[in-house]
Amino acid sequence: MNRFVLLVITILALVFSTSCGPASTAEAASDSSAAYIENKGSDTIVNLALAWAEKYQNDHPEVRISVTGGGSGTGIASIINGTVDIANASRQIKQEEVDQARSNGVEPVEHIIARDAIAVIVNPENPVNELTLKQISDIYSGKFKNWKEVGGEDRPIVRLSRETNSGTHVYFLETVLRLGISDDKTLFSTDTLLLPSSEGIIAEVRQNPNAIGYDGLGYVPRDLKMIAIAEEEGGAYVLPSIPTVNDKSYPIARDLYMYTNGEPTGITKEYLDWILSPEAQQIVADLGFVPASLTPNPSP
């Protein structure tokens, strides 16, 4: 009996101590030198987040920031499970994820931290320079199977996409494949190659003249060719760049987000405030993204 009581007390103590864990570390953070921010999510944002973290840690040596990628879904799953302080996402949180978070006692709060354009890329040997959104949609849905159908050479089209856990994938599906129509059920053609990383897409496009891929503007190296895109046939074909994203003439651009659990407090708040400062937003522009402060009202 005595042992049983002891066991119960031990278990209670363990449960109690783990449930107290985050609170006590937060307390420790505010008064000791080792403040720690855990930051995880979108692979699109990871370089930007790293650059920010590096700069911020230089200026505030008392703060440690850990940044990891894994995809927007991974980041949002982590904020739902309460394992990170800030989740990075290149798409907005879905309603079902909000519900899940609430059932876990987490209230996700959204912060728009930068904008990004998705560039559609092909091998430089490919003579195709411009496409309409509809043509890209038909390429990815499998309707067009040969480059000559969009004015190119007689070559098979090899479609490259990020994995389904990537925010870029979801955004591309909704904005390009389905042309922004919410009840459109078009899917990626099954033979679309789903590559686990931006690097995988870039490596394949670099060496394969049949390939078409997409990636965040900040990630496209100079030796690949970006496609100029028109919203509809007869419209102007626009290449992605900071000015064309800002004046909204380039059609595939989106906001980038960070999510916190509840309104941020303490060092997390200081960090997020700094991210929206001109100094931090300059880093955004340097990395090929578009600063958030230039877009006063976010798209819904």
């Binding site: 879904g73 899940q100 090899v158 994995e163 856990n165 099954t190 190659l193 686990p196």
Partner: protein
């Protein structure tokens, strides 16, 4: 007698016994958790949709047939590479090579076995897949074949070292007997040594196949991960998506307890059953061969 054993010996024998039984316990626990997390699949999805042809989990398409065929075609391809190369290398090392060559080759093969698979995947993306695309005039080099070649390469060291041990264990008298009867070197190897080492060689092949079917990183990097049903021989030259790559790519993002989560565990069960089947088939063949050998010898 037992009382004369000191306590140290008692502890050590118990520890060894426990670690032996723990293997059974761990397999049972793994299976239990797989089943517990995977079985809700049957409640949440219909069998017809589970065995349909489209895998697109973020829109609730959970057809796992393309993934199963993808894994099988890559594994069969890998076995076709690894078995001849592996057994050939083992025969060369154990039967033909002069002593100094063997001293060099054995550690080299083992070194190859220690190569991290992500490194091989990287080489596959940068060198093998562009080369195959140009050589075979394919739309893309990220195909089942690329995966098979690399997985074959990963499985070869396993096959070589196990098969070589088995060949080495064949008594010298067998070979001498064959030579005395006038058999050539090749006849000795093919008719005497290899059959005598059969069970070990078969174990080597099975371990190699097991290594190939369970490998994740390399296939995720080089097979293109397109969930297309792979039934024809020509599928070897097109992209496929394997079960392991699917689990690895999607497990990180999936919400705990969702249908997608359960289906991923169900894929784990399928993978588990396949490797269980391979192992049972292998051991039953070995068992039968042993019985036959016993009958002949008695």
């Amino acid at each position: 007698m037992e009382k004369s054993l000191n306590w140290r010996e008692f502890v050590i024998t118990r520890l060894i016994k426990a670690s032996g039984y723990s293997a059974i316990l761990f397999v049972a626990l793994i299976f239990f958790f797989l089943v517990r997390e995977g079985l809700p699949t049957f409640v949440e999805t219909e069998l017809t949709s589970l065995f349909s042809l489209r895998w697109y989990p973020i829109e609730d398409y959970f057809g796992i047939l393309p993934l199963i065929t993808g894994s099988l075609i890559v594994t069969v391809g890998a076995a076709l590479v690894a078995v001849p190369f592996g057994i050939g290398t083992a025969i060369y090392i154990s039967e033909i090579a002069p002593r100094w060559v063997r001293e060099i080759l054995k550690p080299l093969v083992e070194l190859l076995g220690g190569l991290p698979s992500v490194v091989l995947g990287f080489l596959g993306i940068l060198i093998l897949s562009p080369y195959l695309r140009v050589l075979l005039d394919l739309p893309t080099g990220l195909t089942a074949l690329t995966g098979s070649l690399l997985l074959g390469g990963i499985a070869v060291p396993t096959v070589v070292s196990v098969a070589e041990d088995a060949l080495d264990a064949v008594p010298r008298a067998y070979r001498e007997g064959a030579w005395a009867l006038g058999a050539t070197r090749w006849q000795t190897i093919w008719r005497v040594t290899l059959p005598a080492a059969r069970s070990g060689v078969l174990t080597a092949v099975m371990l190699g196949v097991g290594r190939a079917i369970g490998e994740t990183m390399t296939v995720m990097m080089v097979t293109g991960n397109a969930p297309v049903l792979a039934l024809k021989l020509g599928s070897l030259f097109s992209p496929v998506r394997t079960m392991t790559a699917t689990i690895a790519a999607e497990m990180g993002e999936v919400a705990n307890g969702s249908t997608h989560y359960h289906v991923l565990f169900f894929i784990g069960i399928v993978l588990f059953l396949i490797s269980l089947g391979v192992n049972i088939a292998a051991s039953s063949v070995v068992f039968r061969a042993k019985k036959r050998a016993e009958r002949i010898l008695s």
